[in-house]
Symmetry: C2
DNA sequence: GAGCCACCTTGATACGGATCAAGCTGGCAG
DNA sequence: CTGCCAGCTTGATCCGTATCAAGGTGGCTC
């Protein structure tokens, strides 16, 4: 049996010291039966940067796990104003058992590889395998918490705080994928354009650019090229987010 | 066996014509075993307006369903800026299986009655009763969708659109609790103070007040007292939200 | 190497909502 | 009835971000 990275998030690897995300095969929680079931109904799809995965309202007959690349969920108002409402990084889950159409636009923001499960078989699996259902519930609850933290950012933070918060979130996710401590995540590539960052944060791309320049000018970050960020003092960045020092913004 | 309104949301009453929310006893989906299990571990708590249910970070040893009244989930930045991240109306669910502490401040915004289940027994029930786990997953997915719609409001709408959206959401929830069609929900009481509305929408209470006055001046709504809203033309209100005519904002 | 284009930066100005301030309203205690 | 106070309204002004505009940069194709 070939165990792949793509269905990892269906297990709670976070609490499993012997199971770094890229090597679930050694996880003591693995249940071979489940894996075999998942393996038997999965297939792959890949997308190019900018390519839509699905538009809001269109039928979506699979659920999927992100293997590599970045995808976004977004909503658009009549007049074109766009808000990103979800950011899918490797190991994130896409889709909803029990619903036939996509509620949001899903777009590949880079080269994107999805590991898909047809909805019918996946739902059957869910019904017959409580441990998978339970893991999916936990993942959904995590996403809900992330969405709520994001709401604080959108509703109450200044542009500067928004940028600092986004950089912190990306650094921490990057670090956690590589099993580093958060403070080690002090250099990383921005996976998003300025425009995508603006859509994430409810700003314009000009404001994003200005605030990044301001953080650079103030020595909070260094830029190498347009996309590579170096954070000399991670605590200084966190202090710019407006959160408590022990900030709970883990996404 | 005594069937109560409070654990109703653990069933999907929405798709069950014979099961209006207040009379689940006749629902064809009811599984007596589950009800008995839920009944056997539940108890009640009540709170006064303004009283905290739990502060973020404090231990929370129960999950609960709102029987009556309004509660809010909110987050506060160091300097006091507050954002509401969840609004709990009757039949909504509070708490998270598998976590021992509250992630957000929970506050009673009116007289509030909760139907509580101690976390331990509830989690055991969840493990042993897949249908309850599945229902909880669906509810969580609904909440996640609501949070994402809310993110669009916070990130991209003007103050006027925010107010119109909130009024629409409240009218529709009110209507759905009473099994009316959405357009009938054209008169209702605001369950929130101006300040709570501001915390919901990421505005100040002055701006909320001004925009409500503006909608009144423009004939979109009528006010009877400070809290009772009459909507003469529901489509006119929806047109103010900035959403597509067939707007997806069902919370 | 030349030219192009997506992406980004910076500047000038406009405007929506925050802030500060003053007063109104209605319900309740005494 | 009187006074009080939480909740609300309205006005004047300020500030942060949007908007409009111009130009820079780097990576790609030919």
């Amino acid at each position: 049996m070939n165990i792949r990275m793509d269905d990892l998030r269906l297990h709670d690897h976070r609490n499993c010291a012997s199971c770094p995300i890229r090597h679930r095969a050694v996880c003591s929680k693995c249940e071979p039966d489940e894996l075999e079931l998942l393996d038997s109904i999965k297939y792959y799809r890949s997308y190019d940067p900018g390519q839509p995965v699905v538009w809001a309202g269109d039928p979506l007959d699979f659920v999927a796990s992100v293997v590599s690349g970045i995808a976004t969920l977004s909503q658009t108002l009549e007049d074109g104003r766009t808000q990103m409402v979800g950011l899918l990084l490797p190991s994130d889950f896409l889709g909803r058992p029990g619903r036939a159409t996509a509620p949001y636009d899903v777009t590949a923001n880079s080269k994107l590889l999805l590991c898909c499960f047809r909805r019918g078989p996946f739902e059957r699996l869910l019904r017959e395998t409580p441990s998978i259902a339970q893991r999916l519930l936990e993942m959904t609850l995590d996403e809900l918490d992330a969405a709520r933290d994001w709401m604080l950012i959108l509703g109450r933070k200044t542009a500067r705080e928004k940028i600092a918060s986004l950089l912190t979130i990306i650094a921490q996710r990057e670090a956690s994928l590589q099993k580093l401590s958060p403070t080690d995540g002090s250099a990383f590539d921005l996976p998003l354009t300025r425009e995508a960052m603006a859509d994430y944060l409810g700003l314009t791309l000009e404001t994003v650019s200005r605030q990044i320049s301001a953080l650079k000018r103030d020595g909070i970050i260094r830029l190498e090229g347009k996309r590579h960020i170096v954070v000399p003092d991670f605590d200084a960045l966190i202090a710019e987010t407006g959160d408590d020092a022990d900030g709970g913004l883990l996404v």
